[in-house]
């Protein structure tokens, strides 16, 4: 079509697309504020690591679940692969944990590619159901393949080499590594918010048929999103393994863990930059408070919050905050 003289006169036209530097600025501000956490809450470092680490993994989950609209309830697979690949390479081959984590990313990407290629033709609840099946099978195999994984008895990391001179078992170090990971995930999300690829994913989420009609190949793009999501989750898994020091397949590959990641994103708001962070803060913090009164690990808060969110804030609590602020 011939070009006509352009008159981008209306201010709404510019407001209609997300201004990049602005949201990236917010990301930096939030990360900078979080960086002070270890200084201020010296006695709650473990809680802080848990929140930031889960926020990072939930943001990674959100690349597939929120931005692409594919509800996975099997992401614990990548947490487990990240943790186990790292730990086993450390224990069996003497590889440094950071290289082990990289190997975990590689393994997760391969698994995600196969998993996605097979199940992305399923739509709606069928994809979610298939993801549970994949994750449960992985858990059972990991639990029983004792010669590889140590089986139900789990693995423990007795000692680790220093990373750039830092002690990886220090909560403070773990906090900052988790923060870097969260930063990575949020920057990835902010890129999705405004890049060509990001718009492809959002279009697929909104309407797959219409997305195809404007030239988008949904299967390819969904698989790519899955790979990115798996890689980031796997990194989180490696760090989670170090953080725990000891873990077993029952926890690392559990359905509960998969569900938690999804719920964090949903409660905070899927497909938003900070929704998963808000969700992680609320859920991890909430369970922590509850644990003080009721001994034993409890997901009660998760259940209650998700019911309230579905009923009263279907777009997530993060968006409620935004709505209130606008008023």
């Amino acid at each position: 079509m011939p070009q006509t003289p352009l008159s981008v006169s209306h201010p709404a036209v510019r407001r209609g697309v997300n201004a990049g530097p602005w949201s990236l600025g917010w990301v930096l501000v939030v990360l900078a504020v979080l960086a002070f956490y270890p200084v201020v809450f010296r006695n709650f470092l473990t809680l802080g690591v848990t929140i930031v680490l889960f926020a990072g993994m939930a943001t990674a989950w959100d690349v597939l679940g929120g931005w692409t609209g594919q509800l996975s309830l099997g992401h614990a697979v990548f947490v487990g692969i990240g943790a186990y690949t790292m730990a086993l390479l450390v224990l069996r081959a003497g590889v440094a944990p950071w290289w082990g984590a990289m190997a975990g990313v590689g393994a997760s990407v391969v698994v995600a590619a196969m998993w996605g290629a097979v199940t992305f033709r399923l739509r709606g609840p069928y994809f979610a159901l298939a993801s549970i099946a994949v994750a449960e099978m992985t858990r059972i195999v990991a639990n029983n393949w004792a010669s590889l994984t140590g089986g139900a008895e789990g693995v423990s990391l007795p000692s680790l080499p220093r990373f750039l001179g830092l002690d990886l078992f220090s909560r403070r170090v773990e906090f900052y590594i988790a923060l870097v990971l969260l930063g990575l995930a949020v920057v990835a999300a902010s890129w999705l918010q405004r890049s060509r690829f990001g718009y492809h994913l959002q279009a697929i989420r909104e309407d797959e048929d219409a997305a195809m009609a404007v030239g988008i190949n949904p299967t390819r793009d969904k698989v790519l999103a899955f790979l990115a999501s798996a890689a980031l989750t796997s990194l989180g898994g490696s760090l989670y393994g170090i953080f725990l020091g000891f873990f077993e397949p029952r926890g690392m590959f559990s359905l509960d863990l998969s569900v938690q990641l999804a719920l964090m994103a949903y409660i905070g708001g899927v497909g938003t930059l900070f929704g998963p962070l808000v969700g992680a803060g609320l859920l991890v913090g909430g369970s922590e408070v509850l644990r003080i009164y009721f001994p034993g690990k409890s997901l009660f808060v998760y259940g209650l919050l998700i019911i309230l969110v579905v009923l009263f804030a279907p777009d997530g609590l993060g968006t409620v905050v935004r709505r209130v602020r606008r008023v």
Partner: protein, 288 residues
Amino acid sequence: MVEFIQIVVNGIFTGGVYAIIGIGLSLIFGVMRIVNFAHGVFLVVGMFTTLFFFERLHVDPFLVIPLVVLVGGLLGVIVERSLLEPIARAPEHASILMTVGIGLVLSNVLLFTFGDAPQIINTRYSTSTWHLGPITFSTALTISFFLTVVVISGLALLLGRTDLGRAIRAAAQNADAAELQGINTRRVRSLVFGMGFALAALAGALLLPQLFAHPSIGPTYTLKAFIVTVLGGMGNVAGAIGGGLLLGITESLGAAYVSSSYRDVFGLAAFLLVLLLRPAGLFGRSRT
């Protein structure tokens, strides 16, 4: 050969209970288009309700079953009215998240109420058996199976022969057309969810003699329910019977001849394969 028959018989006994779980889930999916992620927890609620009545009233567990079913049905209707009806028109993931949340809340309420220790029921016939030739039958399981057959037959009659059953099937096949026949589909939805909960609770009561009850085992049975309904075809009630028996026998054979620790993998693998290759289930035509 005797061993094989024994294993298949055990599989059929368990499979019957799986069928009950699956029928409930399938009814709910058929009428409400909801994949109920809390289904296994409903079963656990049934287990603990049975335990509660057994310990407080000292009544035989099989005799309190009507009470358990009633409690389950009531809870189901309440849950549907208060939490699911409001989101009936919301996008699909809303109902998934909602039922996940309901499951978490219920299982944690059980945890607070009954504690973290696994519980078992002890009756005078818990360990008794009877024999048919070389095959051994557990008395408790036999009673369970007998009840299973009665319940499934009753359901078949209800769905096939009564106005209510026709109303349920009509609402599942075409809700608008059902309304045009004067059927109150909103009431049918509540009722079906109540039935689903009641059936799951019943299955819990029937499984109690052979299992430890613990608040955390819900998701395991949610998965089994998914497997059963996907094998039989989502929303296909008759298929759920076949799916249940198939899962029971597969698990039983797999555990005996391959590996008991991989018992659950067989069902999951079959589930995944059916999802990918025959999404309408093994026993049905595709619904359009």
